[in-house]
Symmetry: C2
Subunit: 349 residues, 2 copies
C-alpha cells in the first residue's frame, strides 16, 4: 500500500538540509517539516492533534487559538487583498474548529520603502472584513526590515474564539461510512491569483472566493451536532485537507469526481496551465465530514447560505486503505489523490 508521506525517501528535488519553497506549500514537504522539526521539539497533546486550531482550556472555557502568516504575492488581487485574506484566513481556521471568532492580533513585517498608501489600504481592508466577521483587532506589532530583506508586506494574524462545550471537531474524528461535504466550487482563489500574477486574461475575470465562513458553520452546527470535522481547503487545496483527515483518522476517503463543483473558467485555466483543481487553494470554501444520517440535512442547510449554495456531497469515508484518498473519475476509473510534495503555486496566501 502506498503511504502518503514517505520519510524513507526524499521528495524529488529535495535538498534535505535546506528549506525549499515547497516546504511552505501545505503539501507533503510541509507535513514532513512539521513532523521532523516542529513536533519533535514542541510536542504536546494539543499540538499533536495537528488541527488548524488549538483548543485549550482556560478557567474552564474552551478557547480556540490559531495563527497564520500571510506572504501572498501580489498584495492586491481580484476579490481581495493581503489584508482581507489575513482576517478571513484566521477567522476561518477558528470557525473550522466550531469556534466563534472573537479577537485577533495583527503583526506587520514591512519592507523599508513600502508605500504608506499601500499599507493604509491594506489596514482599512482588514478592518472592513473584521467588522463583517464580528471580530475586533485588539493588539498588534510592527517591524521594519531593510529594503531587500522582505517583500513589501507580510502580515501575521492570530485569533482566539470560544468553542461550545458539547462540540469536538477534529481531523481525527472521521469514521467509515461518513460523508464528505464541500461547500462550493474549488480552485477560484488559486487561479485568480495566478491569472492576476501572470497577466493571463480569460473571458470573465476569475475572482478569489476569499470570505468569512463562520456564518455558514453556525448554520451547519444549528441543524446537527453530528459533524465530525471541518477544514477549509486553502494551501494544498482539497487534496491536502482530505489527505490530512485520512491520515489523522486512519481512514480512506473515496471521492466522486462528477460531484465536485469547478467553475468552467477555472477548469479551462487549469487545463491550459496543467494544474489539477484538487490541489489549488481556496479561501472561502469548507470541507466537512459528517455522519451519513445527517449528510442530506447538513447539505440542505449549507445550500441556504450564500457561501454554500453550490454545496455537494462529494465522497464517502471508508474503512479500506487507511490514509489514502481516491477518486472515481468521470471516466469510471479510480485514481489516487495524493499530497503533492511541493508547490503548484507558491505564495498563494
Amino acid at each position: 500500500m502506498k503511504t502518503i508521506v514517505d520519510f524513507s525517501c526524499p521528495a524529488p528535488h529535495t535538498a534535505k538540509d535546506t528549506i525549499l519553497l515547497g516546504h511552505g506549500s501545505g503539501g507533503s514537504l510541509t507535513d514532513d517539516l512539521i513532523r521532523s522539526i516542529f513536533l519533535p521539539a514542541f510536542h504536546n497533546p494539543v499540538l499533536n492533534r495537528l488541527d488548524d486550531q488549538a483548543i485549550v482550556i482556560v478557567n474552564g472555557s474552551r478557547l480556540a487559538l490559531t495563527t497564520d502568516s500571510f506572504v501572498i504575492k501580489p498584495l492586491f488581487f481580484p476579490g481581495g487583498d493581503i489584508g482581507s485574506l489575513a482576517v478571513h484566513g484566521t477567522v476561518n481556521d477558528l470557525a473550522m474548529g466550531g469556534a466563534k471568532p472573537l479577537f485577533l492580533s495583527a503583526a506587520f513585517i514591512l519592507e523599508e520603502g513600502l508605500s504608506m498608501g499601500v499599507l493604509e489600504r491594506v489596514v482599512r481592508s482588514m478592518q472592513e472584513v473584521a467588522q463583517v466577521a464580528g471580530v475586533q483587532i485588539v493588539t498588534g506589532d510592527t517591524k521594519v526590515v531593510e529594503k531587500g530583506s522582505g517583500d513589501q508586506l507580510f502580515i501575521n494574524t492570530t485569533g482566539i474564539g470560544v468553542v461550545p462545550d458539547e462540540l469536538s471537531l477534529s481531523a481525527s474524528n472521521a469514521q467509515p461510512g461518513d460523508k464528505v461535504l464541500l461547500s462550493g466550487t474549488i480552485g477560484d482563489h488559486g487561479i485568480a491569483i495566478l491569472a492576476h500574477r501572470e497577466g493571463l486574461e480569460f473571458e470573465s475575470q476569475i475572482q478569489s472566493d476569499s470570505a468569512v465562513l463562520y456564518g455558514l458553520v453556525a448554520e451547519m452546527l444549528g441543524v446537527t451536532p453530528q459533524i465530525r470535522c471541518m477544514r477549509d481547503p486553502t494551501r494544498g487545496g482539497v487534496s491536502s485537507a482530505l489527505n490530512e483527515i485520512a491520515q489523522q483518522s486512519s481512514v480512506g476517503i473515496e471521492l466522486v469526481e462528477s460531484q465536485i463543483p469547478v467553475r468552467e473558467e477555472v477548469r479551462g485555466a487549469c487545463e491550459m496551465l496543467g494544474l489539477d483543481p484538487l490541489y489549488v487553494a481556496n479561501e472561502g470554501k469548507l470541507l466537512a465530514i459528517v455522519a451519513p444520517e445527517v449528510a442530506e440535512l447538513v447539505v440542505g442547510a449549507m445550500r441556504q447560505h450564500p457561501f454554500g449554495k453550490n454545496s455537494q456531497i462529494i465522497g464517502t469515508v471508508s474503512g479500506k486503505h487507511p490514509g489514502l484518498v481516491t477518486m472515481r473519475t468521470a471516466l469510471g476509473t479510480t485514481r489516487i489523490v495524493d499530497m503533492l510534495p511541493g508547490d503548484q503555486l507558491p505564495r498563494i496566501c
Copy 2:
C-alpha cells in the same frame, strides 16, 4: 512646552509617504505610524489603551493577548537566539499586564535556502525557553518565501494568559507621587547584539539579558496590589517605555541618572559608539510604576529574585510637564529624555 510627538512636523529624513527603518524602531516614528494608520482603522477600547497586551473578557475570564514578530539580525547572539527571544518577548509582554502566560502560537516565515540545521536549533531553543516559562506552544504556521524576499527566518509568537480579577495594570494608571522602579542594568541586549553584529570586542563579552520575567512579576504582585503599571523596555529602551507611560497617563516622569544601573562594559561601549543607554533595547528588564508607600517594599521583593537583584528606584512621577520625561544628570543639570524618531540600532528584536 515641548511635546513628545509632534505631528505637525515630520521627523528628520522622513519621506512621509514611504516606510522607513525608523518606523520599526519603537520610537516616535513607530508611534506616529500607530496613531496615523493603525488606530484610525482598528480603533476599539481595548486597542486604544496601547498597552503591550490586550485584556479581553471571554466567558467571564480576563485574558491577555499579545503578539510580536521577531526579525533580529543575527539569528544567534551571546545570551540567546531568535527562538529564545521570540518566546521571552511575548511571555514578558503578557507578564507586564500581570497575566500568567499559558499558551503560545508560533508562526515562521522562512527564506528559501535556509539551513534546516539553523531552523532546528532555533526551534529547540524555543522549546527549552517555553518550558522554563511554563508555556506550551500549541499551534503554528510555516510560510516560505523565495530567496531574496526574506532574510533567513522571521518568527511571530502570539500568547495568551490569564489576568487575576483584581489586577488592572496599564500605562494609563501612573499618578503624581508614584515611584519608578527598574529591575536591573540597562542596554545589555542592544549592546550585545551590536557588538556581535559589528565584530566589536570588549574585555569581557557582553551578553543579552533576554529572560522570562513572569517569576519576578509574580514576586512583586505577591507583596502588593498597588502596582500601577509595568513595561519591559525593549525596542526604544527605557526612554520609549517611560515616554509612552508619561503620554498615556498625562504625567511627567523625573529620573535620577545616578540611580540607573548600567554595566561598566555597556557604558564604555555606548560612549565609544555614541549611544545613550536609555535608548538601547533590553529583553530581561522591567520598569514598574508603583504607589510611593509600597516602593521600598516592592524593590525589596525584586532584589530577592535573580532577575531583579540590581533593582533601583530610578525616579518619580510628577504632575508637572505632562507627557514629558526628564532626568537629573550626574552633573546636577536636568535634561529632557524624549523619544527618538527612529533607530539607533535596527532589527534588534
